[in-house]
């Protein structure tokens, strides 16, 4: 059997080859963030025992307020619905995070699923980043405050969207990655589009951490 290999859903664009350090010559810069661990967490936010157990396992209070994001170090917890959250953590922390959640939630009605193969993230920056999102999504970007995460339509697909650093982080399905990337590049090209160096993207992620 061949060795299984995890690769980015955008690998066929060979982004690393086109990537340059972002500067002022383009209005929009985008780069894929390094592959991360994605955990789907489900449970009832109205059950205090569940919220407490999940919060202690994650090391960050579970965001029970609709459309909010909780962040601690490199771990990001996004509210998706009253009974669903998406936990994003570095890949090396994935196993430990799942184990901690499963241990803490034992006996409590809940579900913890490793969804790491299912998502990727893109960081969109630059002076015209919000203009591009206005073209692609239906959400009123002016109302997207820091710490807020919304699920919205992106072209004919969907994405989770929140502010990160001076730009926007898009968390979307691997199966739609090709479509979303092409759609975004097409919307961004009139403003000048550049692929941001992945080192910058990951450095930006560490900055927030």
């Amino acid at each position: 059997m061949s060795k299984s290999l995890m690769q980015s859903p955008l690998h066929h664009f060979d982004l690393a080859k086109q990537a340059v350090k972002p500067d002022g010559r383009h209005g929009v810069w985008a780069g894929e963030l390094p592959l991360a661990g994605y955990i789907a967490l489900r449970g009832d936010s109205a059950t205090p025992a569940f919220v407490e157990a999940a919060s202690s396992a994650l090391g960050v209070p579970l965001p029970v307020t609709p459309c909010t994001l909780a962040q601690s170090g490199a771990v990001k917890v996004a509210w998706i619905s009253p009974d669903e959250w998406l936990v994003v953590c570095p890949r090396e922390k994935l196993g430990a995070t799942i184990a901690a959640l499963e241990r803490a939630l034992e006996g409590i009605r809940s579900q913890v699923v490793d969804n790491s193969g299912g998502y990727t993230q893109v960081l969109l920056t630059g002076a015209n980043a919000s203009d591009v999102l206005a073209h692609c999504t239906v959400y009123d970007i002016a109302h997207l405050d820091p710490g807020k995460v919304v699920g919205t339509t992106f072209g004919k697909s969907a994405t989770l969207l929140h502010r990160q650093d001076r730009g926007f982080c898009l968390i979307f399905r691997r199966s739609f990655a090709d479509y979303l990337w092409r759609f975004m590049v097409r919307a961004a090209t009139p403003y000048g589009f550049g692929v941001a160096l992945r080192e910058d993207a990951s450095a930006a992620e560490r900055e927030t951490a």
Binding site: Y139, F154, A158
Partner: protein
Amino acid sequence: MFLLSCPHCGEKREEEEFAYGGEAFIARPADPETLDDEGWGDYLFKRKNTKGWHWEMWGHQTGCRKFFIVKRNTASHAIAGSWTLAEGRKAYDAEGGAA
């Protein structure tokens, strides 16, 4: 296009984020096995098709992915309110089960 208020997200969002879920509160027959074809056909296909106030379901497909209840005027697109399924049922019953 109109804006719908999602009771789960607590925000008004564009219609494009939602999917229409059809007429609300259609009770599934308790015992489909004993139902005749006409009765089953009515359950599957017959709708009120109201012109005016209509209780319907919408799914927040690209947001929280939950279904909820909307009371909408099919003639004017005026929206009287949106509720979670349980709260919507109460509001619907309070009106006597019909618009």
